[in-house]
Amino acid sequence: MGHAAIIAGQGFNGVSLASILLLTALGLALSFGLMNVINMAHGEMLMVGGYLSFLATKMVHGPLAFPFALLLSFAGAALLGALLEVTVIRWLYGRPLDTLLATWGVSLILQQAARSLFGAIGVEVVAPHWLEGSVSIEHGLLAGLSMPYVRIFIILLTVAVLGLLMVFIARTRWGLYLRAVHQDREMAQALGVNTRWVDLVVFSMGTGVAGLAGAALALIAPVTPTVGQSYVVYAFLVVIVGGLGSLFGTTLAALLVGLFSAGVQMFTSISLADVWLLVLVILFIQFRPKGIIYQRSRAMKEA
């Protein structure tokens, strides 16, 4: 492999890592960035999506298996999210740190449930045939570069979900309601917005996206009861670095983290790359305490 191929390959790996982080972080950007709910069980929604996609590929065979798996993991995780919202989150709006603790409890329960149902060793989702193999470049400057189809697929899926969410939030009436509810619940209500419904829909959309992320992740890694744990801390970092409430910022942050990791991993170990990543984030926060993109406000409470 030539240098160009290695650099291009790591660039691709960085983008691929970024897309996985982003897919995980998008749901958080909704629940955390817009609703101020720190959902520590977000990772478990990922896990649920993964297991559902595992079940789906067991139930349905043939070309439709994987699309069905995506659908099922989205719907299932969204439904679970709705349940969570109604039973726990609803009572905790405006107390972000408490949502953190309560959802941590939820995550423990979900992990244990998964362990009881599926066992502690991971299960494997077999990727559909059309995602097997990779784009390989045999000649020229980039000879030796190979880009697995699964990773390309995940990048595309992420772009699609990101696009849909951006349109939803910025362009639709629902997006407007959602932002309004988060900023002033009572006033939104007094203007005729059914806040409960908005909360429910948005929260479960966030978990639904996490479910999708889980299904995507299952293509490259096993689904285990603790799979969420390993991603959720980084996903939160991405949301923080990006700035609350800005999907654009979240995207930039994911790219930053992904490319940084892919780059540093080449020169040091993965463990140390993680440590350096955190050092970078703390330094970054020195310059941009509220993330890459943030909203100013004159209100003293937020200053």
Partner: protein, 252 residues
């Protein structure tokens, strides 16, 4: 004329290209009242923000007691002797009324001087005095967040009084108050002016009248006119941008 307590010199503040303050200047003498009026969005509150260090001007400077304070941290500016009442009540909702006042009344705000257990007698006396002054004596132990809007206004005025700072900045102190209460507030401000300097913003002309002090009119981030209220009232330009059709103020 002595040296001004506060000088705002040619201050410009801009937000994404929009100049909220545009070469604004103002000088304030010790133990005096200055009233600041002007249309909504003229930049009055932004001026206070600038003085207290909450926003950084892109040009110009602020001098307080002979020292430039333009780029200082907020808390350092405040410690030099400035206290501000905000336009939307800026009180600590989950502290009691008395605790809010305590916080404002404490003289030593450095961290390393905060490790003594008892409350200073002077501070306590000051708090009691202020409580009576603003009529919140019987709500002393209520959480500030549970006050009505008007009561919150009074509490914040109380905090400014308790701070005993040399320069008091009052952003719409009479808003939400009844006639009687505005009159009370005006009397209080005149009393305070014996020992402090006050910069008062308000839109209530009856209240401004009672302050009996020179008036500065701001418009579009600049000083438009300074003079007595009478002069201001008779200025057609100010009537156009601010006062509207001039109406007799009914003095009850």
């Amino acid at each position: 004329m002595g040296t001004p307590l506060l000088s705002v010199e040619n201050v410009t503040v801009s937000f994404n290209g929009f100049n909220a303050l545009d070469g604004m200047s103002l000088h304030l003498m010790p133990t005096s009242i200055r009233v600041l009026i002007g249309p909504n969005g003229a930049g009055k509150s932004t001026l206070l923000d600038t003085i207290i260090g909450h926003v950084r001007p892109s040009a110009g400077r602020v001098v307080f007691k002979g020292h430039e304070i333009t780029r200082m941290d907020e808390y350092k500016i405040v410690r030099r002797g400035i206290c501000r009442k905000f336009q939307a009540p800026g009180i600590l909702d989950n502290l009691t009324v008395a605790e809010n006042l305590n916080l404002a009344a404490r003289r030593h705000r450095e961290c390393w001087r905060s490790f003594s257990v008892g409350l200073n007698k002077e501070v306590r006396a000051q708090v009691e005095r202020v409580l009576t002054l603003v009529g919140l004596n019987d709500r002393k132990h209520a959480l500030a967040g549970q006050l009505s809007h008007g009561q919150k206004q009074w509490l914040e005025i109380g905090m400014v009084v308790a701070s005993d700072a040399e320069l008091l900045l009052l952003d719409e102190p009479a808003a939400g108050m009844s006639h009687d209460e505005s009159a009370q507030t005006a009397a209080l401000i005149r009393e305070l002016a014996k020992q402090h300097s006050l910069l008062v913003i308000d839109h209530d002309m009856a209240f401004v009248d009672q302050l009996d002090a020179p008036v500065s009119v701001m418009h579009m981030g600049r000083m438009l006119r300074e003079g007595t209220l009478e002069e201001i009232r008779n200025d057609p330009q100010i009537a156009a941008v601010y006062l509207g059709r001039v109406k007799e103020v009914s003095v009850a």
